[in-house]
Each structure stands twice: as C-alpha cells, then as structure tokens.
C-alpha cells in the first residue's frame, strides 16, 4: 500500500510539472523608451548617404504658429488622445517610443527570415523564379537570400538616414517646440528631449519604412501598413506629436522614399538572377581561364544564386574591380591540398567548440541571414549607447551599405573565379552544414562580417577588437561547417575589411563623428 501513496504522490508532482507554463529567455536588447545620450541638434548639417541635394530637392510646408487656432485645436485633440490609454495603446507607446529605427530594423529582419527559403524544384526538375510582378505566385517573391537581405537592409537604412538628416534640418528651420512644452497640461508619456517636433521624426521613419518595405516585401503590405499606422498613432497616445507634425513627417518620408525607390528600380537587381545563357558563359569562362568551374550540388541542379549580383550598383566602393582579390590556390597545389585537408579534418573530427561556432554563425535558411545577424549586433550596440533616431539610422546606414557592398563584391568574386565547393572537390566529403548553392571563393560570411565589423569598430571604437573577433569567428565557422576553404575565409575577411574602410571613409567626412 505504501507504494500506492508514493505513486500517487509522484503523479501529483508530475501533474504540477506538466501544468507549468513554458517560457523562453529572450536574448535581445529591448528598445524600451530611454533618454537619448544626445540629440545631435546639428544633424541637419550632416552629409547624406545618397540625397546630397535634399535641401533643394525636398521641402516641408511651414507649420502653423503655436498660438494659431488650428494648432491650439491640435493640442486639444492631442490632450484627449493621450489622456486615457488602453493597455494596448500603452504597449504601443512603449514599443515605438524607445527607438523606432531599431524597431523597423527588427521588422525588416523578421521579413528577411520569413522569405529566406529557397524555392522547391518543379516536377520537371526546373526551379521557379520569384517574380516581383507576381509576388503571390509560388515561388513567392522575394527569396530573401543574403544578397537580397543585404540590399533590403541597405535601402531601408540609407533612406532612413537621409530622411532623418532632412528631418533634423527642417526641425531646426521651424523650431516648433514639443507639444508638452507649448501646453504643459499635456503629459508626455516618453522621456523628454529637446528636439523640435515638426516634422515628426517618427512619422518620417514610418513613411520611409512603409514605402521601401512594401517594395521589397510586397506580400507583407498589410502588416507593414498596420505597423506604420500604429507607429504614428503611438505618437499621439504618447502626447509627443500633433497631427500636423505627423502629416509633415509622413510627406517628407514619402518624398525621400521615392528617391530611393527610383535608385532601387535601376540598380541592376532586376537582372541579378541572370539566365541560363549567363550561367553557362560564366562557367565556361572560368573553365577556360582557371581550369575549373563551380557546379550545383543540389538535385535537381539549381542555377547558382544571383550570378549577376556583382553588377548591382554599390554604395561606397567605387566598383567591384577595385576590391576584387587575386585567384585562390590552384587545385592540385600544396596549398590547396593543405586547405582541403583542414576542411576534411573538421568534418571528421568536429569538436564541441567547432560545432558551436559553425551553428552559431550559420544564419542559413529561415534566418535573417548574416547581414541580419550583423544588424542585430549593431542594434544591441545602438541601444547600449542610447543613440537617438538619427544617429541610429546613420549607424545602420553605414553598416548596411558596407554589407551590401560586401555582398556585391563577394558575388562578383564568386562568379569571376567560379570555384567548386569542398564537397565537390574533396572526394566523399560529408559536411556539418549544408553547402550553399553558389561558388566557394570568397566566403560571403567572411566578407559580410569583416565589412560590418570594420564599420561598427569605427562607430563604437571600444568595441572594435570584439567586432573583429566576431568577424574572425564567423569566417572560420564556414571551415568548421565544411563549406569553405581557409583561403575563401581569409581573403573574404581582407576584402570585407577593405570594403568597410570605404564606408568609414565616407562616414568620417559626414560631420557626425
């Protein structure tokens, strides 16, 4: 009988265990509201990334005077809107009220991960191509692979940066005080800052993000519009902006987005996918020149990823030829044999640490890609340093312009040399990670990582050594994963660093640091 009680006790305890809610520890710096380290009041004088002529190309209507009846009516409406909030409204105020540029970056990362799944093959052994004209037909548009994601982050970030420089410029031109200063009976639900409120930087950021993200991820239109609407409304609920602040910001953001959309539509991305004739000619050219060519390891053979991405218009590097590295070690050479042996050794005898590193930096399908990983790292540093929205956008802009330049340069190198992957070149090699469907030399992870680490090391000098260490680890992770040779990685790091320095050279002259 004793055991009956024991088993009953065990069952009761088990039920308690079973009933517990499961929770996750989230490892992400939260963009909760904080007081900016400074507000960069002179930010309107910084050099933009792209819109050099914004002072003449853009205009913002003069706001109504603070003592005008129309503005007084706006203040009264704002007072009402911000007086009593529902829990959801409070949540929205806090979600958007910390760092809205980081929030939109998170949303872009979310979309990159969602769309980062390679299309399935058709029954006849071909592969469908995602179509921007028909995004909802499988394979859905886009396939947000690393080059696509890098471009998406770059446009979002550079456009927000330029739009916020313009915003800061117009804010100082009109110097409309924050609503809670003009009417102290309005309670500001967010930390105070000294920025003029017209046009609203939040409305600018939301408008830019809306137009660019809908262009980049058209199937997410409804979600994007809903987020943007909540973002704008949150400024009313927070007592932070009046309707005219928001309307002016919205118009300004849309105008800037239009300039960037024009660039995006003619930057060469539409042709980056290439064609059968182009794949064949690239492979043949490599075979003639180097004696080898890359082949897809997939069944059915999948056309290599974005063979003409190397021709997409870069941001800070003059052209791809300037940064294109020399050829990799020749197959058959002692150096090549040594590197092949190294890859093989890590596959046959992985350690707990080599496996961890390979997995940590893999950022493969259904993730935000390596560029997204570096955006996450950048976000954490931005929040730790309590950057305002303008300085946040600047950080993302240089990081992401360098990331896309890295992608463009790396893809140029990949298809220029067209080298086989280890699993093709090394007989019987089985790899820890899946082999990506494009040539080996140089490593995309290495090039992306060194570029981003170099920019982050400039913006956050106390983090430079750590960023470099991250890049080196991300780079070597590909050897541990069995999908790159050491030369792919080391040369990728060198080129990435050079590309990051091109971005830094622009950043050093922009008046911000």
């Amino acid at each position: 009988m004793k055991f009956k009680y024991i088993s009953l006790t065990i069952m009761a305890l088990s039920l308690m265990v079973f009933a517990c809610e499961k929770e996750l520890e989230i490892e992400l710096n939260q963009a909760d509201p904080y007081t900016f380290a400074n507000t960069d009041r002179n930010g309107g004088n910084w050099d933009p990334a792209f819109l050099d002529d914004f002072k003449t190309a853009l205009s913002v209507a003069s706001p109504a005077a603070t003592n005008s009846s129309s503005y007084q009516a706006e203040l009264a409406a704002l007072k009402t809107a911000s007086a009593n909030l529902t829990p959801d409204q409070e949540k929205a105020v806090n979600y958007w009220g910390g760092n809205a540029v980081v929030r939109w970056n998170e949303i872009a990362r979310e979309m990159a991960a969602k769309y980062n799944v390679p299309p399935a093959s058709n029954p006849d052994g071909t592969y469908g191509v995602p179509s921007a004209a028909n995004p909802g037909v499988y394979p859905f548009f886009p396939f947000a692979n690393p080059p696509y994601a890098a471009r998406a982050f770059a446009y979002l970030s550079a456009a927000q940066f330029d739009a916020l420089i313009a915003t800061w410029h117009f804010k100082e031109q009109f110097k409309r005080p924050a609503p809670s200063i003009t009417d102290p009976t309005i309670t500001l639900r967010l930390p105070k800052n000294d920025l003029p409120s017209y046009p609203s930087e939040d409305a600018v950021v939301a408008a830019v993000a809306t137009d660019l993200l809908i262009f980049l991820f058209p199937l997410e239109k409804d979600l994007i519009l809903a987020k943007a609407e909540e973002h704008r409304q949150s400024r009313l609920w927070a007592g932070a902006n009046t309707t005219s602040d928001l309307q002016a910001g919205d118009a300004l953001g849309k105008a800037v987005a239009a300039k960037f959309l024009a660039r995006a539509k003619s930057d060469g991305m539409g042709k980056a996918g290439g064609s059968k004739a182009i794949y064949d000619s690239l492979a043949n050219a490599a075979k003639q020149k180097w004696g080898w060519n890359w082949v897809s390891l997939e069944t059915p053979a999948r056309p290599g990823m974005l063979p003409m991405y190397g021709r997409v218009k870069p941001w800070c590097i003059p052209n791809v030829e300037t940064v294109r590295p020399g050829p990799p070690p020749l197959p058959g050479s002692p150096k090549f044999a040594g590197e092949a042996a190294e890859v093989k050794r890590w596959q046959e005898k992985p350690t707990a640490e080599s496996r961890r590193i390979a997995n940590f930096w893999a950022d493969g399908p259904s993730t935000y890609t390596p560029p997204g990983h570096w955006n996450r790292i950048a976000s954490d540093l931005i929040l730790q340093n309590k950057f305002n929205l303008l300085r946040t956008a600047r950080t993302f802009a240089y990081v992401n312009m360098s990331l896309q330049d890295a992608g463009i340069s790396c893809w140029d190198t990949k298809y220029h040399y067209h080298t086989p992957r280890p699993a093709t070149a090394i007989e019987g090699l089985k790899t820890l990670l899946g082999t990506p469907n494009f040539p080996s030399y140089t490593s995309g992870h290495s090039t992306f990582s060194a570029a981003a680490a170099t920019v982050l090391g400039y913006i956050f000098p106390d983090q430079a050594a750590k960023m470099e260490q991250f890049a080196k680890e991300a780079s070597e992770s590909r050897i541990y994963g069995g999908i790159h040779y050491r030369s792919d990685c080391e040369v990728g790091l060198q080129v990435g660093k050079k590309i990051g320095e091109y971005s830094n050279a622009v950043a050093k002259k922009d008046g911000a640091q």
Partner: protein
C-alpha cells in the same frame, strides 16, 4: 521450465519521427521525439511479461509485471528509413537527402523491485545517414531513460485477467548530440517526464490485448544559435518543445514461449509549427503520426531465459515526420537476481 515472453510493442522502439526535408543551403533534422519515452514503456512491458511467465507456479495469464528479484535485459537493434516525408501535410520526397536511415542499438533493462513495482532503464545508441547529398550523418549515445512502473490493478476475471499499470518516466540527453540537425540529428534534446496508463487483458487461451495512453512533458531545448524562425523570429537560444500525447493498442497471442503481436499507435504533438514549404524542420515541429507494427518473439525452452525477437513497423500517416519503415531484432535475457527462495520453478 522457463516460458519467457516479452510484451514488446515494436512501435515503442520505432525511430519515430524522422522528418526530412531539404534545402538549397541544406539543413535538416531528424525528428525523434518520444523515442525514449516509448523505449521505457517497452522495457517495462518486456520485462514484466517476462517475469510473469517465468514463475512456473503461475501461468502467463497472471499478467505482465516482473516479480521481485527478477531482472530482464534486452538488446534490440533496429533500422528505420524513409524516402518520403510530410512537409506539414504535403507529402514529398527530397532528392538532396535520398533515403534517410536511422539505426539504433538500445540496451535496456527492467528490474523487479517488488512484485508490483519495476524499475526500468535504457540507454540507446543512434546512427543516422542520408543516401544523397553531402550532409553528414550523426551518431552517438542519445538519451538516458529511467522509469518506474507500478501495477495498480490486478483483477482476476474467471480464467482471464485484467491488469492496470501506471508508469512514470524520465529521460534526458546522455551526450552532447545536437538536436537542431534535423533530419539527421540523433534525438530532439529535451528532458522528458511522462505519465502513462496501461490496461492489459489476457485470456487463458493466450490471447491478449493492451491499450496505453501516455502524456509527455518536454523541457525547452538548448540551441547553438540565438535566433530561429518559428511562425515569427525568436531571439533565443532556447526552444520550447510542445508536449506529446501518444496512445496505442496491441492485440497478440502468447503460448509456449511464442508470442505474436500486431499493434497500432498514434503520436500527437500538442502544438509546434509545420515545416514551411521547402524549409527545414525545427525540433519543435508539430510531429504527428500513426503507425502499424508487428512483433514476433520466441523463447526456446533449452536456452533458459534467453529469447529472441523480431519486429517491424510502418508509418501510415504523418505530419512533419518521415514515412519510415522499421525492421529490427534483438535478444533478451532474464534471470532471478535475488529473492530466489520464492522462485522454485526455474
């Protein structure tokens, strides 16, 4: 005379949930949740049956729990493979995986602590491989499983018998294998607690029927990355593993050391995402399946406690799992370790 029989449900041994899929930057996973839980259930029933029949004073109709002092050791081997899997509800093949094969060697033991209480232990070794593509298979010790089975009901119905058991089981990874290599990982990495109820009816003629219902709570698992996409991005290196409900029914015949059994079992993961189109499975995927199984077992009288078994199973329907076919065999040995005074019949 030893008329050993083992109540072995082969479906419990089946490498259950291999979900395959593939990818251009391929990645995979093997879905093997629940394996250990079922393993323990199997150990338990194996050994308890054995015990019952070992005692000559009793007959096989006495029920399936090992008596005090008896130990049963089993060493089954099984090989399971699939070429098609369900991506959500879409059944497909994956030419970049070809045939995904899982082999397992599953040493296990059951010990009769008391006449109504058994302790179970198991420690399986797994090895996976794919016939196509260049991805590494994996191998190693999977999860240590420990269990307690208690006979809560023991009812004579004329010459037949109805018994009821409650079982609690615990399993936890016994090596640092990585669960996020599906479909080639060797396990799902969670620490599990399960509660199980079993009803067993046996007629004097040797026919029997068994019904089981089990519920398993699975712990979060630890990943070597800090982001994954599960119906939305998750910034964590932990993954919530949904709980699992499973049930099965077996019909069998046992007489003179020979046992034949057919089984049907269902596993239902209580939540988790589907594999997205052409995406890779996550360990937390919503893996469901039903399977049919058979078991044959024989204890030659001359071998004094040594027995042999052969088993097989096939997944009939599934979701986010491979349609695996399993075949296996093994040897068993049981003996009276203590309390020998009570055992005069061997």
């Amino acid at each position: 005379m030893l008329k050993c029989c083992i109540l072995f449900n082969p479906s419990t041994f089946q490498p259950f949930n291999f979900s395959g899929f593939f990818h251009s930057l391929f990645n995979y996973f093997v879905v093997e949740k629940q394996r250990n839980v079922r393993l323990l259930a199997a150990v338990l029933t194996i050994c308890t049956m054995h015990l019952a029949t070992a005692s000559f004073a009793q007959t096989a109709t006495d029920g399936f729990i090992m008596e005090k002092g008896r130990i049963c050791i089993a060493l089954p081997y099984q090989s399971s493979s699939w070429t098609e899997y369900w991506e959500g509800t879409l059944k497909r093949e994956n030419l970049n995986l070809g045939e995904v094969k899982t082999q397992a060697l599953m040493p296990m033991a059951a010990v009769g602590i008391l006449n109504n209480l058994n302790v179970l232990v198991g420690l399986p070794f797994f090895k996976t491989s794919a016939s196509a593509g260049s991805m590494s298979g994996h191998q190693g010790i999977q999860d240590l499983a420990l269990g307690l089975k208690y006979r809560a009901l023991n009812l004579g119905l004329g010459e037949s018998k109805l018994e009821g058991f409650v079982t609690g089981m615990f399993s936890t990874p016994a090596s640092n294998y990585y669960p996020d290599f599906l479909p080639l990982s060797i396990g799902l990495g969670s620490t599990n607690l399960s509660a199980r109820g079993t009803l067993h009816y046996q007629s004097k003629m040797g026919l029997y029927g068994t019904a089981q219902l089990g519920w398993t709570r699975r712990s979060n698992i630890k990943l070597e990355r800090n982001y994954y996409y599960e119906n939305g991005g998750v910034y964590s290196s932990e993954m919530i593993m949904p709980n699992v409900l499973d049930y099965n029914a077996n019909l069998g015949f046992y007489k003179n050391g020979l046992r034949l059994e057919l089984g049907y079992s269902v596993m239902n993961t209580l939540g988790g995402p589907d594999i997205r189109r052409n995406d890779m499975p996550l360990p937390c995927a919503n893996m469901d399946l039903s399977s049919a199984s058979f078991l044959a077992q024989y204890y030659p009288k001359a071998l004094k406690g040594i027995g042999f078994m052969a088993m097989g199973s096939k997944v009939l329907e599934g979701r986010n799992v491979g349609q695996s076919t399993m075949l296996g065999g093994g040897i068993l040995y049981q003996f009276q370790a203590w309390n020998k005074a009570a055992k005069t019949e061997n």
